[in-house]
Symmetry: C2
Subunit: 355 residues, 2 copies
């Protein structure tokens, strides 16, 4: 595969901004299209966080940062792109329209991927001329640090294309899990949605506050899920008798009325206020920017801890972290001489928004 | 409060064994009752893991280990106990019978707590003479490492007693969250149950394997939940507009048919086999003992990473970890002279099962 050096990001919100950061920090030039008047400021803020995080974790150096430029149209953003990541808001009509514009303007061999967290690739590709080169590559926030990427090909996505997309994502430090059966929301968000609904009930019914619920996670099973998932954890809980024993023991609980999930809590102003107020009480002392920095430091700390596991081979996200840091280091440019650095500083590569 | 130096553990399975380890490693003598013929061997194995973990994390030393003795009856186990933790299998009739025996044999001022992960304290205390000194203290596996403890008082539990129980649990390194509204399964297991049901559907329907699902957790949102829970994480996702914006954006998804949770997957031999086989493929290369050691190392690594956060003050479980390690160190006994150590070695304090 030709090395990808030019990418386009369509949409520069929380997710799009995270993609831009991951791409640029891997040395890839990114052309951005986002009609929001403050798009550049927002992307710059994500970039600042991401740069801080990468400098903190890249003990062996970093590649020279790719440029981030702002295009006046989708056509302009994608015209030279080898890889295009669509991250516009979650409305199917908007996704369809955006993909049509991307396809019309992009080189015929460009990879076209969507960040959607819910729609099926098959539905999104319904109007595409070449659905074989489109799939869902669904990341989790913060995109520049969390490695997971749910790859969901549509019915017409080409196998060779899926492989190319996975290879590219892996080359920028991601862990791809290919979901071969299309369902809305895929796997990660189904689990999150299930837990989220139950959480809303627990808070709405006054069983606990958002802070108490968060504490039960982060002093409890969250520490387990950072390193082993649900099934591997339960395998251990089954003890010597293993998974069959665990299932037999836990199974009957499925019949108990232990969740309210069959029912949807009414989403009204009262519920929003209740949760927003409790969230202010829990986290109001930190700005979002501070919370992001704390989160990123912790994510890196956890990945570095897991990187030391198994005698330095690493475990789970830690094993991948070892490989990623090493790769970033290999791609790092030798330090410029003082004179060369000064010359470079006078020619900023980052252009302002064109439009 | 009088310092607790003598405890009883009724039930020595995965959870009971974890309690015994946490108590003994904090220097508390534990009398165990468990009618299982291999109870002692099983507890010894949990103790070996826990001892290994504590030596690894207790950089400032450990208290002298409490004794673990095996009693022939509940009455015998509890007769001198200041604190009693019940961890028998999850059957209400068995819990009621066990609590009656505990109450009949225990000193009148002993703390009586249950590890139940589902029953309400009020229901469990229905036949007790003194329900005011009983509550649920629900831990998560591995009990000797995970700090969380869901404290669920019953309708008749005394406020002063709840405070005493929390103080004691905190003194052995735990984070107590008091749940003041009783519901079956409390908070943690409601969330786990919701995610578990959805996970069973995803595997049963062939959307993913258990390994793929676990990877999506441990390379994805599991890394977030180890340090911030669900609400604090989503507060950040809302960006500058905060929690209200996030709720407004995410809210409508509650109406979408994104989970199958309204429905219970049929629990049959086929489902057990499917999951057990995939679990073997994922983890069969490690014994349960090896997986436990890997898990424990990772848990300590993650807590140590979080302990370094916020300029060494620590964050979440890491802040507690700092305090716990310090406290264990303060309680550590000065090293014995070689002669004293030898003399002590000839008088093993651990007696075998009496019965």
């Amino acid at each position: 595969m030709t090395k990808i050096t030019k990418a386009a990001a369509i949409g520069g919100g929380v997710i799009g901004g995270g993609w831009i950061a991951r791409l640029a920090l891997n040395g890839i030039d990114v052309a951005v299209f986002d009609p929001h008047p403050e798009a550049k400021r927002k992307v710059d803020e994500v970039m600042a966080n991401a740069r801080h995080a990468y400098r903190r974790m890249a003990l062996k150096g970093l590649p020279e940062e790719g440029t981030v430029t702002y295009a006046a149209s989708i056509a302009d953003a994608v015209k030279n792109a080898q890889f295009i990541q669509e991250s516009v808001p979650e409305r199917l009509d908007l996704k369809l329209k955006t993909l049509a514009e991307i396809e019309a303007g992009a080189p015929s061999d460009a990879l076209i991927c969507s960040s959607t967290s819910g729609f099926k690739a098959t539905d999104m590709a319904a109007d595409m001329m070449h659905p074989e080169r489109f799939l869902v590559g669904h990341p989790f926030n913060p995109v520049y640090l969390l490695p997971i990427n749910e790859i969901v090909p549509g019915e017409k996505t080409g196998k060779e294309f899926t492989q190319r997309a996975c290879d590219f994502y892996a080359s920028i430090g991601m862990k791809c899990v290919v979901i071969n059966k299309e369902i809305d929301a895929f796997v990660g968000n189904r689990l999150l949605e299930a837990a989220w609904r139950e959480a809303l009930w627990l808070v709405k019914d006054g069983v606990c506050t958002v802070e108490e619920l968060d504490d039960i996670m982060r002093y409890g099973f969250g520490l387990r899920w950072a390193q082993m998932g649900m099934f591997q954890t339960y395998r251990i809980a089954g003890g010597e008798a293993g998974m069959r024993h665990f299932m037999a023991q836990f199974g009957p609980a499925l019949q108990w009325p232990w969740t309210k999930l069959m029912d949807v809590p009414e989403f009204n102003e009262d519920l929003v206020e209740l949760i927003a107020e409790q969230s202010d009480a829990q986290s109001g002392q930190w700005s979002i920017r501070e919370l992001e920095r704390i989160r990123d430091e912790n994510l890196i700390g956890i990945m570095e801890a897991l990187a030391k596991a198994e005698k330095g081979k690493g475990w789970g996200a830690g094993e991948l972290h070892n490989a990623y840091v090493k790769q970033l280091g290999r791609a790092s440019k030798p330090k410029l001489s003082a004179a060369a650095a000064k010359a470079k500083a006078t020619k900023p590569r980052k252009s302002a928004r064109k439009g």
